[in-house]
Amino acid sequence: MIGGSLIVTLMIAHLIASVLAVEIRNLKLATIALCIQAFFLSSIFSAFASMSNNPSLYWWSLTAFITKVIIIPCLLLIYIRKLPKAEVTPVIGYTLSISILSIILIIFYRFVHTFIEFVAPTPEAMAEPARSCLTLSFMIFALGLYVLVVRKDAIKIVIGLCLLENGVHLSLVTLAPGLPETTVIGIATNVVIAAWLLLYLTGRIFKILGSTDTSILSELRR
């Protein structure tokens, strides 16, 4: 039996890794941070599996490990080798970005954790540690959206999309632990293919334009 304190530790580690994946400007290191973030996600699934005696969650953990810890970071690293190593300089600098991020995260934490009944339909999801876990999933989701909105680098955008998906994936463990494995595998496979197609397109666009800056993709904006 694994106690709630381990889950809390894992969740904090998950959050820190997510912030690192967003803020590190070196794309290779950011990818490694994403990989670690996904590893903690998979560990959280295992911890929940052990805590709630739900062995099917081990399968979730394995699926997340294969797709999010191994395949997606590998794809990212393969494509980063062909592309510029450093992120296209974002409009918002380090200090400001971290401040905005902290504010967003704190607001989301306070809001979702306090008004959990708005999003958690069952008493199980309202009790700790599921409550914090659900809150965390909304925070990661918001983090992913933040990246998608403010960052210009195509690789960073893929990382943001992965964060967004990981946030939803994390919410599944509290909201829908009874979801069949096939469905979970389906969701995870979709993310892998979407990430791969996006990276492939980024590679093609880099060949044509010589840049991974998505803000210059304005040929069609008239």
Binding site: E117, F118, V119, A120, P121, T122, A125, F141, L148, A154, I157, L161, L164, E165, V168, S171, L172, L175, A176, G178, L179, P180, T183, G186, I187, N190, I193, A194, L197, L198, L201, T202, R204, I205, I208, L209, T214, L217, E219, L220
Partner: protein, 502 residues
């Protein structure tokens, strides 16, 4: 009225397995010969079409087909989507071979790429039929995202700068949008769990029965996620940014597919999710009406200022899909009926218009209305088709668009949303202005003398105008004899209402 009975049937599974299998064969062997890609693609679509017809007949005799412990559930609405999907697919496969041979492309089109093209077309149809067949709310997300993944490389077929950009935008925006919808699906599933046993809470057919018991806050949050998510796929304003680019930059047959079928899959997902809750919450009906009214009005205004013919058609699609969603969002019989009728009509009309735009591009090499104006054309069939499409989409009698729009106006007014009905009528008039102006400028203005020797001014080849002709004929036939499509639309509408418990 006969009651609806659920029966087990393999047809419900075959309808998405067959095209997927064909697509795999084309991926593997399509590069070797024309027969193995175009021939097989045609055969696969034909078989799918026949299966859809078989399903249609079963549905009309009062059955709903199910398989795999109710996770596959094919009712009238699914049958409608499957028929129009495979019919459009067939016409597109007929149209494509000649069209793709066009001169002056950025990269040589190799047999390998053509194999990929036809394979993806079939794969899209397979995933789309899967979307329409699934009864599992989370699988709806999986299959819907799969349709997006399958169409991305169709949009980027030419691999130029603009096509790559359009494909990138499409994939990114729709994936983000649909992820929101996934959150909504999970919330609804989770909220139904206390009222249903584990497996059942995933099924739309069961969720419909407990929709009234789900907490209001969750319903509203989930519906907001659905509208943002599936609305992105359907191209509703303000989630439409991908749509004009993707429609304009894809090859014309793929534009017809996008506008005719792909955005309808988003509308279909909205039908399955939103209508479950619409009868219990008036706020959802009003919210959908506001978004839809804004989409139709802004969409057509943007269409009016376009010079690029395909972009104009794309913006008009935003405007027209809003009619479909507004009707469906009403949650009444007349509203859903009108919405589905317009969905069918819009597929036919917009398919027709995009294929005619393709024919013009094929012959003249330009999509700009201003330049098309200068080129002399002897294209009577294209002219005829464009003319019919323009009148039909503006809702002019005796074409099919008139009937569906009239039904929608009545349904909206009946529900008490007079302001929305006024906007819908106004949009229809603006559509007429937009299309008649375009048709006049393209076909009736006097070409400049110095270009009179342009060699590319004759009619397009038979295989290309055949599809256009069939669609134009359908516009007229359905307009004059709507009883042809009444049974399937009625059955689809009753199936939706049945899930609602009505």
């Amino acid at each position: 009225m006969t009651s609806i009975e659920v029966v087990e049937s393999n047809l419900a599974v075959l309808v998405f397995v067959i095209p997927t299998l064909f697509s795999l064969i084309i991926f593997a062997f399509g590069r070797f010969s024309r027969l193995l890609r175009e021939g097989l693609a045609f055969l696969g679509l034909l078989v799918t079409f026949l299966i859809s017809i078989a399903i249609y007949q079963k549905v009309l005799s009062g059955y709903v087909l199910s398989a795999w412990k109710m996770t596959i559930y094919v009712d009238g609405l699914s049958a409608l989507m499957e028929i129009i999907g495979s019919l459009m697919g067939l016409l597109i496969v007929l149209y494509s071979p000649r069209y793709l041979k066009k001169r002056g492309l950025p990269e040589e089109i190799t047999p390998k790429r053509l194999g990929l093209y036809y394979g993806l077309l079939l794969l899209f149809l397979g995933t789309m039929n899967w979307t329409c067949a699934t009864n599992n709310i989370v699988m709806l997300f999986v299959s819907l995202e799969a349709t997006t993944l399958a169409t991305t490389f169709l949009i980027t077929f030419y691999w130029g700068k603009r096509a790559s950009e359009a494909g990138y935008k499409y994939l990114l925006l729709v994936t983000i949008g649909v992820t929101f919808a996934l959150f909504g699906c999970v919330l609804v599933y989770s909220a139904s769990l206390p009222h249903l046993s584990g497996h059942e809470a995933l099924l739309f057919t069961s969720i419909g029965k407990v929709a009234g018991k789900i907490p209001t806050s969750i319903v509203l949050l989930a519906c907001a996620f659905f509208i943002a998510g599936f609305g992105t796929k359907a191209g509703l304003i303000p989630f439409h940014a991908w749509l004009p680019d993707a429609h304009a930059e894809a090859p014309a047959p793929i534009s017809a597919l996008l506008s005719g079928i792909v955005i309808k899959v988003g509308a279909y997902a909205l039908v399955r999710t939103i209508t479950v809750f619409a009868p219990h919450y008036n706020a959802i009906v009003v919210f959908v009406a506001i978004i839809a009214s804004a989409s139709m009005l802004i969409g057509i205004c943007l269409a009016l200022v376009q010079d690029d013919l395909k972009r104009m058609l794309a913006y008009s699609s935003i405007s027209q899909i809003a009619y479909v969603i507004e009707g469906i969002g009403l949650g009444t019989y007349l509203g859903i009926y009108g919405g589905l009728f317009h969905l069918l009509n819009h597929t036919i009309i917009k398919g027709l218009l995009f294929l005619t735009a393709g024919a013009l591009l094929y012959m003249t090499g330009t999509r700009s209305i201003q330049e098309l104006q200068k080129v002399p054309k002897k294209m009577p069939i294209t002219l005829f088709c464009f003319f019919i499409g323009s009148l039909a989409i503006s809702g002019m009698p005796p074409f099919n668009g008139f009937l569906s729009k009239l039904t929608l106006f009545l349904a909206i007014a009946q529900r008490g949303l007079l302001w929305a009905a006024v906007i819908a009528v106004l949009t229809s008039l603006l559509t007429l202005a937009c299309f008649v102006r375009a048709a006049y400028r393209i076909f009736w203005s006097k070409p400049a003398a110095q270009l009179a020797t342009n060699p590319h001014s004759k009619e397009v080849p038979f295989s290309m105008w055949l599809g256009m002709g069939v669609l134009a004929l359908l516009c007229i036939v359905i307009g004059i004899y709507p009883k042809l499509v009444y049974p399937i639309l009625d059955s689809a509408t009753r199936c939706i209402l049945k899930i609602l418990g009505g």
